[in-house]
């Protein structure tokens, strides 16, 4: 049941209506049941995976509070093993098998290890990390173990963010489940606005761009460098609108129920450096890696070479989290290298700005910084999107020497795509720099707001793509 479907709209209206209609003491059971139904709409039997990991983590959390010394570490390891083990079996088994098989073949053995055919459970990477976040926080003493099984299960399975985040922290989400949330007009309106904007980004922009990107990246031998440059820029906006659109719908849906989820994106393509980009892109995941992996490795409180290594490790693991393919690992590794290069050149860049008094041209500097950051991020998207490493290198080779005419295909796809990107950039530039001091959705005049809602809905009906299927991040 994807967010951009009529089935979800019907489901959501029913859930919200019943949620506010029923007494508070039954709401959590109901919400958990609704979340189970939501999850089982994909592959029903996979609910057992969640039952297993939730049960393990629930009991481990309680035992951790009373345990001491090595027993605490053992309990933590047990939970990590259970959660990461499930992830390894369902997501990485074929990656492990095929790479082992290649290694064996490299040393003269037979390459005859057969691959398993297991469908990846939806949202596995997301709810696994959310569960790990809980256990680690309990272990660190920052979070009391949740003794109410229903509430803990709801923390993992809360349907708005179950399959593609934001990856929540127990300190933020669990206390909210303990409170009674009455229907609030302002929260409902804010929530619906977010849902509308998220839907617009998904069906009007992301899915439209996907038509061109899929046609080009699906045939790397045919298309030229010029086409790949355009397709890669399109993909940059496709993945952003797809993922941030989902996040907006998730956050908006939760907001209507009075639950506040964390922001996941903050206009990342307006970042002036790669470090800033990673503070604005997929915030819930990057902060997760910072708090639970980077800091555990020592962060930047280690000798400099080790610091750089920590950054590389974090981003390589982040790449692997996204998918069991070398292209994702390379994508992650490149981002790690960018960060290290950024740190290495920081002093040099600051000296150049000081020496040549470039602060007088701060606007130009910001524009150059933003454009450069966007360009290097787009380079990494080639690996993220390509089917395999050799396709990625073929595409990069073509992009390095662009030639030939741009593949147009259907002119309307290009036209709508460019319209979508320009519209998005206008909105986001205004949100960032407030050069038009008129609020549309939040305007005081009700008819301006009505016009805005109407215009958005009409654009969705007129220009939206309704047959594209799932969100990109569902595959993670």
């Amino acid at each position: 049941m994807v967010f951009n479907s009529i089935a979800f709209a019907i489901y959501f209206v029913v859930v919200i209506s019943l949620y506010f209609a029923m007494p508070f003491r039954y709401r959590h059971v109901f919400l958990l049941a609704a979340s189970c139904y939501f999850y089982m709409a994909f592959i029903p039997i996979y609910i057992l995976i969640l039952v297993f990991t939730i049960t393990v983590d629930y009991f481990v959390g309680i035992c951790l509070e009373s345990a001491e010394g090595n027993k605490r570490k053992l309990l933590l390891m047990a939970s990590i093993f259970a959660n990461v083990g499930v992830l390894a079996v369902f997501k990485y088994q074929n990656f492990i098998i095929s790479n082992t098989s290649s290694l064996v073949h490299l040393f003269g053995g037979d390459r005859n290890l057969s691959l398993l055919s297991i469908v990846l459970p939806i949202g596995l990477s997301f709810h696994t990390f959310q569960a790990l976040s809980y256990i680690i926080e309990v272990y660190r003493g920052h979070q009391k173990a949740e003794r109410n099984f229903i509430l803990y299960a709801l923390y993992v399975m809360f349907f708005p963010q179950l399959v593609a985040g934001p990856i929540e922290r127990p300190q933020n989400l669990l206390p909210q489940f303990h409170l009674k949330h009455d229907f609030r007009y302002s929260e409902a309106v804010d929530g619906l606005r977010l849902i509308l904007w998220g839907l617009f980004k998904k069906v009007v922009i992301a899915d439209r761009l996907a038509l061109y990107v899929d046609a080009v990246y699906g045939n790397p031998n045919i298309h030229n460098g010029t086409t790949f440059i355009v397709a890669t820029i399109f993909f940059a906006f496709q993945i952003y609108c797809d993922f941030s659109g989902y996040s907006d719908i998730a956050i908006g849906s939760a907001k209507i129920m009075g639950i506040r989820l964390m922001d996941n994106f903050r206009r990342p393509y307006l970042s002036k450096s790669i470090a800033e980009f990673w503070r604005r892109w997929h915030i819930s995941l990057s902060s997760w890696f910072r708090d639970y992996l980077y800091i555990s490795l020592g962060g930047n409180r280690v000798p400099i070479p080790r610091w750089y290594l920590n950054l590389l490790i974090v981003f390589l693991v982040s790449g692997l989290w996204h998918g069991a393919k070398w292209t994702f690992v390379i994508w992650g590794g490149l981002n790690g290298i960018y960060l290290v290069m950024g740190i290495l050149t920081r002093d040099l860049r600051e000296n150049i700005v000081k020496t040549f008094r470039l602060t007088r041209f701060s606007v130009l500097l910001n524009v150059c910084g933003t454009a450069f950051t966007f360009a290097i991020v787009c380079f990494t998207w080639v690996f993220f999107r390509a089917d395999n490493v050799s396709d990625a290198f073929l595409i990069i080779k073509k992009m390095a020497f662009p030639s030939g005419a741009l593949f147009v295909g259907q002119l309307s796809i290009l036209a709508y795509s460019i319209f979508g990107i320009l519209f998005l950039m206008l909105i986001e530039l205004n949100q960032e720099y407030s050069f038009i001091k008129i609020s549309i959705f939040g305007n005081r005049r009700w008819y301006v707001r009505q016009l805005a809602y109407n215009a958005m809905a009409v654009l969705i009906l007129l220009v939206g793509v309704f047959d594209s299927g799932q969100f990109i991040y569902f595959q993670f």
Binding site: I6, N219, N221, A415, Q450, V458, L462, D467, G469
Partner: protein, 312 residues
């Protein structure tokens, strides 16, 4: 209460906008004078040609109606449409047969026409504007998804992604730009490169779509029942590998069940290796389509008794 009142107000305003804008779009959609949508409307509502040709882009660019007309002394219309396949053509044929009975029906079949596609029945969306006015296309449209009927309560939705084509289709320069001769659109030059004709990786599994097979059989049976001579043709493509294995044998079997002539040019040496006949590996250019049309006409003539006047 305030929330419900304002929500209802939003929906009322949206309803009014939908009806108003939908009516405007509908009016201008049906006043187009060029483009693919215009040709669909013409095929469904206006043509009374003796010979109707159906198929995707390979039909549009391969079959020259003027050759059929001059050789067979019968009027001819090419009702092919880019990126549209058997489900679409069966719906269009149903609409045509409600109005009149063609004498010859030609279906250009692609070797992957029966294969399930990742995007499902997206191309059937080209029939959405006709949902309210043509009962015969509804079963096909409803295959898109189980909530399609709900979406079609909107008057704007049928014109989804059509704003630009409606604008260009109503402009005079659109008519001049589209070199369209009774539905046939010529391609010029040759761009044969190192590409895979049908973009299929050899280890891809072919999943057959039963709806498409049923539509194909329905197409043939409707054509035969109305008394027309039905031909199923696999027009030429450039290349040496034949990636799809299932569609052609199944299509031949069904065609033979109805005694329908099946002409398979996919392995035809007169066309297969002549790169100068092709615009790209899937489509003949003007030169190639002329030769191909002449060849098809020759075969059609051979089907009739030599003493029979073809124009009768």
């Amino acid at each position: 209460m305030q929330f419900m009142f304002k929500l209802i107000l939003v929906f009322i305003l949206l309803y009014i906008t939908d009806k108003g804008l939908g009516s405007i779009l509908r009016y201008y959609y049906f006043t187009q004078e060029s483009g693919a949508d215009y040709r669909t409307t013409y095929a469904l509502e206006k043509t009374v040609a003796d010979i109707i040709i159906f198929g995707s882009s390979r039909a549009i660019h391969h079959y020259m109606p003027q050759i059929f007309e001059s050789e067979l002394y019968l009027s001819c219309y090419n009702a092919g449409r880019d990126d549209n396949f058997i489900l679409y053509h069966t719906a269009i044929l149903s609409g045509i047969l409600k109005r009149y009975k063609p004498r010859i029906i030609i279906l250009d079949l692609n070797p992957d026409d029966f294969i399930r596609q990742p995007r499902g029945y997206y191309y059937v969306r080209s029939l959405l504007p006709y949902y309210k006015t043509h009962d015969e296309v509804r079963p096909t449209i409803e295959l898109i998804g189980r909530f399609e009927k709900i979406k079609l309560l909107s008057d704007i939705y049928p014109f989804n992604s059509k704003v630009l084509t409606i604008v260009t289709g109503n402009m005079k320069f659109g008519k001049k730009r589209h070199d369209d001769s009774n539905g046939y659109v010529p391609l010029y030059g040759s761009n044969i490169g190192n590409e895979d004709s049908f973009h299929k990786k050899t280890d891809d599994v072919e999943h057959i779509d039963a709806n498409k097979i049923n539509a194909y059989e329905l197409f043939i049976s409707k054509g035969v029942s109305c008394g027309a001579r039905v031909y199923v043709i696999v027009s030429p493509y450039y290349g040496s590998t034949y990636p799809y294995r299932l569609t052609i044998p199944m299509a031949k079997m069904i065609a033979s069940k109805y005694n329908v002539r099946f002409l398979d040019y996919s392995e035809n040496r007169d066309f297969r290796n002549h790169s100068n006949y092709y615009y790209d590996s899937r489509h003949l250019n003007c030169e190639g389509s002329e030769l191909f049309s002449l060849d098809v006409v020759k075969r059609l003539k051979n089907d009739f008794h030599p003493t029979m006047n073809f124009g009768d």
